[in-house]
């Protein structure tokens, strides 16, 4: 059981002692039951912290934001930031540590265990409600959740609403933390890549039709990139205009910057964008599912990254986010790496 009181007490403690600058956690929002990220500086405000299976967000993105903000400040406050991390989020921290983007002393991790549930997938909830909107969700009963809509209440089994990534999760207990709340009751999964395997078993034609339809929808809002904690490049390959430009950069140089991916949101450019992003996240994506959650057009972006995660494991025996001391996937190699596909 994650005891919310203990979590709040710890949070108040480290704020009072000045150990952390502020704490990033979850609090109640104004849009029904959906929690929102909270930035708590005052120890008295810890009463606003909540924890339930609707706390979907990966808060490590804000660690990345903080680092970018600190770079610009003249006298930065170098104290660590307290952050509430689920199992998946803690692996994100490990990847950031692995890439030396942050130091361990920059964060104080309050780990929470997902225990027997995992997080609620709002898209599954909407499908189940067939267009009616969920106003409130009561998570008290672990097995089935009470959903209130405009037309009444209904009990829905938790398993039907669990996010796919939670069903396939191997680490619902934080792998790195300073203090942890909740039990280590691991959910067993013996088929961690089931959804990817289902897709692989489709015929080539079916796979292409699926991806053609999905990626054609993309409007290139880049919400997937903005929500991903691993997409922290100052210059992204998609934004050619933001490449480092100074007052004395000559005009020819600016004009010759290669535009690998054009702005038009047609199928071909969209595929290049998403595939490039999947390659850049190979061995770095920890499947927090934010990319898919934020997509306004419900494109199953997670699949591409999950496929890369599966190949990292199958081909190179590489697991993402468990060991911050390991080298990254594409900047290391083994003599035994498979080469049966090479003539």
């Amino acid at each position: 059981m994650v005891k919310l009181e203990d979590l709040r007490q710890e949070a108040a403690g480290i704020l009072k002692s000045g150990k952390v600058k502020y704490i990033i956690g979850y609090t109640r929002g104004t849009n029904g039951f959906r929690p929102i990220p909270a930035f708590i500086k005052d120890p008295d405000d810890v009463e606003n912290l909540i924890w339930n299976p609707a706390c979907v967000h990966n808060l490590t993105k804000f660690i990345v934001d903080e680092k970018k903000r600190l770079k610009k400040e003249k006298n930065p406050d170098k104290r660590p930031i307290g952050i509430i991390v689920k199992g998946c989020d803690s692996r994100a921290i490990n990847v950031l540590l692995q890439e030396k983007y942050i130091n361990r002393e920059d964060v104080y991790l309050l780990g929470v265990s997902c225990e027997k549930t995992g997080v609620l997938d709002e898209k599954k909830l909407n499908k189940k409600l067939k267009g009616r909107r969920a106003l409130q969700v009561d998570f008290k009963d672990n097995g089935s959740w009470l959903v209130t809509t405009d037309s009444g209440q209904e009990k829905i089994q938790a398993e039907e609403l669990l996010a796919d990534r939670c069903i396939e999760c191997k680490a619902n207990f934080p792998v790195v933390y300073d203090i942890v709340f909740g039990d280590k009751s691991l959910r067993k999964t013996d088929r961690p890549f089931q959804s990817v395997e289902n897709m692989e078993n489709l015929s080539q034609k079916e796979r292409w039709e699926f991806w053609k339809e999905q990626l054609d929808k993309c409007i290139r809002c880049y919400a997937c990139r903005s929500a991903c904690p691993m997409c922290y490049c100052d210059e992204c390959v998609v934004d050619t205009i933001s490449f480092a430009v100074e007052p004395d950069t000559p005009a020819e140089e600016k004009a010759q910057k290669i535009k690998w991916i054009e702005k038009s949101p047609n199928l071909s450019e969209n595929i290049i964008y998403h595939l490039t992003r999947a390659m850049h996240l190979a061995g770095r994506c920890i499947d927090c599912g934010e990319c898919e959650r934020v997509c306004p057009l419900d494109i199953p972006i997670r699949f591409l990254n999950k496929k890369m995660e599966k190949e990292a494991k199958t081909l190179f025996d590489y697991e993402v986010g468990f060991d911050p001391g390991k080298p990254s996937l594409v900047s290391s190699f083994k003599d035994e790496d498979p080469e049966d596909f090479i003539r």
Partner: protein, 140 residues
């Protein structure tokens, strides 16, 4: 009379081994299909997934990445990195539904002019029945 389809193959050849191998094939007057557009890169390890995707976007029917044999890389380790990276790109392209024959990798040393011509001959033979690549190609 309909013209037979001739696949356009973009080949990224590492300067020190594969490109030299293709030069040897030329200098030795070996015959092989003229469907290849060779692009010389310094090392197979420098081939970014963007080059490959960009080639397909611009209408390449097939892409070949070729480098030195493992252990012989001019930059010691470049081809080991390529081996990993290209494996991932290949898996990804197949996952999305591209024909697996369209994207291939090979080890060709500076002395293997014959091997190079065989690779190209086989590649053209495999690509001809598949027809033009339309999936990733940008239609204006």
């Amino acid at each position: 009379m309909a013209e037979e389809f001739e696949p356009k193959i973009v080949a990224f050849l590492c300067k020190w081994c594969s490109s030299a191998g293709s030069d040897l094939a030329g200098v030795s007057r070996m015959e092989y299909p003229p469907n290849v557009i060779p692009i010389q890169v310094m090392c197979s390890g420098s081939v970014s997934p963007l080059y490959i995707l960009s080639a397909f976007k611009k209408g390449a029917d097939g892409v070949l990445v070729s480098g030195c044999h493992p252990g012989d890389c001019h930059y010691i380790k470049g081809n080991f990195y390529a081996r990993r990276r290209i494996a991932l790109v290949k898996e990804l392209l197949e996952f999305v539904g591209l024909d697996p024959e369209r994207f291939q990798m090979s080890w060709v040393s500076a002395a293997e002019g014959v091997k190079y011509t065989e690779i190209i001959k086989d590649l053209v033979k495999e690509l001809k029945p598949l027809g033009p690549q339309t999936k990733l190609r940008r239609n204006p």
